[in-house]
Symmetry: C2
Subunit: 456 residues, 2 copies
């Protein structure tokens, strides 16, 4: 069997896409199946994301539902939405029957309300149906929204041999057995053991005696991002989910957590860059405009604000035109410092390592900004003086720069901390938001201080 091993790197080439499209045009189903069966379902999903919609539907209808159900879970959300629109409730129910309860519930939750009912009513396996309905009731941003009902559960009173016999049945429905959860007769979680523990134990031992009794768990209402953080921190591969009475309800596995962490990081990154969440480079121009234009509009308003401020100072600075030429520098520095300091705080909050008082954070940022500001200001002072020969202007510009940098740093530190305290995602405070407000404030401050120093 040595030939079948494969290094896992998959390359989606133009040749491959053309090959797939040609086979569809030729309706060469046999060859198409042979070709696609070589690939992992996640790779087939990538192919479907790239070809046109009719071609994608053709492939979905061609392959068996065991494969297509997995493909569906990996598709881009907008491609999946279009494909599901073209499948009947019965066809969707067949796909859903193949999936674990968590993936099944996620797919059904994306359908319009009316279709959800229709699809659920077509699910034949009554137990699967009831479990999916239970999962649909949970908020998607909670542990309940992440968990699956598939798990291996044993009673503390069983012996190792009896347990192995019984879990043979349960394990068939569970893709990966991370842990075996031990419950008492009220179905409450009382312990956990690994398959390894089971395999290395003597067959007559009692489960209660070999189980670890300090099980970590999360509550079904816990926030999904908190669960992700906790599982990453403690290197957990699965965690049981319980209700307030400790009744075992489901389990969350690390692969879902990887997705949560990735989505969270992507969202924060996009917010920092001034893009409203959830677009990627393949989205349509209209979708991308909807994500980008609001932030640009904010920038435009800020720019108009800067214009009005500068116009207001025009009279006073009639003799000092040179000062106006430094406004882009002042605005850029205020923006950069603001983004730097807010990014550090936002990231610290995301990694849960911002501790201590707000005041000590602000004092630290003030010292840091002052240090950076003075270094930069000295450089600027020397340049302006050498270039322009007028020490008073050079002084006015440099001193303002230090003040602007300090204020920008403080705002960048304070705003995300403040938002976080109010329960608002601090990541919205990065990027254009901080840049724009710092731009305006920076320019205003700059002219004030310059006026003061130059005695106008």
């Amino acid at each position: 069997m040595e030939e079948t091993q494969e290094n896992i790197q998959f390359q989606l080439t133009d040749e491959l896409l053309e090959n797939v499209q040609q086979l569809i045009i030729n309706q060469d189903n046999k060859q198409l199946k042979v070709l696609l069966n070589e690939f992992h379902y996640a790779d087939i999903a990538e192919i479907l994301d790239e070809i046109n919609f009719e071609e994608a539907i053709y492939i979905i209808k061609l392959l068996d539902s065991e494969t297509t159900s997995d493909i569906l879970t990996e598709l881009d959300e907008d491609v999946r939405e279009k494909i599901l629109k073209n499948l009947s409730a019965k066809e969707i129910a067949e796909e859903v029957e193949e999936l674990d309860t968590d993936d099944a519930a996620d797919i059904i939750a994306e359908l319009p309300e009316a279709r959800q009912e229709a699809v659920i009513s077509q699910i034949e396996d009554e137990e699967h149906k009831a479990e999916i309905q239970e999962l649909l009731a949970y908020d998607e941003d909670t542990a309940g929204g992440l968990m699956a009902k598939e798990l291996v559960k044993v009673y503390g009173t069983w012996t190792v041999a009896g347990c192995i016999r019984r879990i043979r049945g349960q394990a068939k429905d569970v893709t990966r057995v991370h842990s075996i959860y031990v419950v008492n007769k009220e179905e409450k979680l009382i312990g956990r053991l690994s398959l390894k523990d089971l395999i290395t134990a003597k067959s007559e031992e009692k489960i209660a005696d070999i189980a670890k009794d300090n099980v970590d768990y999360v509550n079904v209402k816990d926030d999904a991002e908190d669960v992700a953080r906790v599982m990453a921190k403690y290197d957990l591969e699965a965690i049981p989910v319980v209700d307030d009475e400790l009744t075992l309800l489901g389990r969350i596995t690390i692969d879902d957590i990887v997705d949560v962490l990735k989505e969270e990081a992507d969202k924060d990154y996009q917010l920092a860059a001034g893009i409203t969440q959830d677009v990627d480079s393949d989205d349509s121009i209209i979708e991308l405009t909807r994500a980008r234009l609001p932030w640009l509009f904010l920038g435009l308003i800020g720019g108009i604000g800067a214009f009005i401020i500068m116009e207001g100072f025009q009279e006073s600075f009639n003799q000092y035109a040179v000062l106006f030429f430094f406004t882009p520098l002042i605005a850029a520095m205020a923006g950069n410092v603001g983004v730097q300091s807010s990014a550090i705080i936002v990231q610290g909050l995301a990694n849960d390592d911002v501790k201590g008082s707000v005041n000590s954070r602000l004092i630290k940022e003030m010292l840091l900004a002052a240090l950076n500001g003075v270094i930069l200001a000295i450089f600027l002072f020397v340049f302006v003086w050498a270039y322009n020969g007028e020490m008073d202007k050079a002084l006015a510009i440099s001193v303002s720069l230090v003040a602007v940098i300090i204020i920008a740093g403080l705002i960048g530190t304070f705003v995300p901390l403040f938002l976080n305290k109010r329960g608002i995602d601090p990541a919205i405070a990065t990027g254009p938001f901080i840049t724009t407000s710092n731009d305006i404030l920076g320019i205003l401050l700059y002219f004030w201080i310059a006026k003061l120093i130059l005695g106008i």
Copy 2:
């Protein structure tokens, strides 16, 4: 055993820290041990990150090496470095004996060269020592740098019963058994099976008959970030690592991949915000300055460039002072559009879904920027006209804005694609780099176009 279950949320409070510090002052070792034993080692690491260095050393010397070795792996790098400096080679070797080979090698790799030798020579377990030495030879950014030697390996010729018997021995050394790897007599990877497969199989079956023969694997020289991407994409919890001859060398587990993904996301986020990688909010002012100042300096140079450009246009635009007041607006819009478009490309490259030709990307971005630009320009035109009453100036400013936005979008799209093609991390093209170059170019373009339209 019901009382011992615990919801996994850990809160590092000031009270807890004071409590720990007081117990250290009182040298109340017994109480301190009782208190700390309640916590997960990752939580104890958080405590050590917050208290002062002498206190941290006190706790490390107090607890047994089984716990402290795990704590060491979770500490902030700078705290760990200080603590290791204070331990003898013998003490470090004792910690390292407790760890899996991958964590052990990571810790040793952080030591100065001279100490590495000393520590390795003190490791008593010869096999562990040899394995760590092997791992130290791999580059940390490769699959070899991530993998551990701990795995469960069986031969295809064994029976299920024989296999269970034999792996009882192996599994004791392996914290988590994800997969059992099947090798032939040349130690080459030929298949894989799960403990679940083993437990549900009949005891007289041959391993070769029940093993899955299409095993995914990575080469020991593969890039760590590629391995992370692949494991996240295919929802893998562990992957075997082989050499060019398919000899099984080790395995990589998902918990290490979660760390790689998090580090990568943090680094990209920081680069976008203009922070050189690897600082957090608790680092010293000097370290933070070193990470932030270079980018600010770049901004300063950009601002001086903008000043020189504006001064150059001063003569021509003597009658048009109002145009100068829009330079912060132009610079801000150029910067924002550049960051948006580069961020989308950088993220697309990181998620490996930027396909197709560079030209089609650029055409799309041009259309997108043109659409956004025209909408914003119409708004700006109406404002300037209404505010100022001069249509020609309003027109000059608005038309330039469209041109600036298009060029900024193209630069933001092209630069990361170009860097990526050259094998340079495209993330460095986001943030201050794009902002600064777009600021200068935008202002230059703005005055050129205004000059043309106003016929100066």
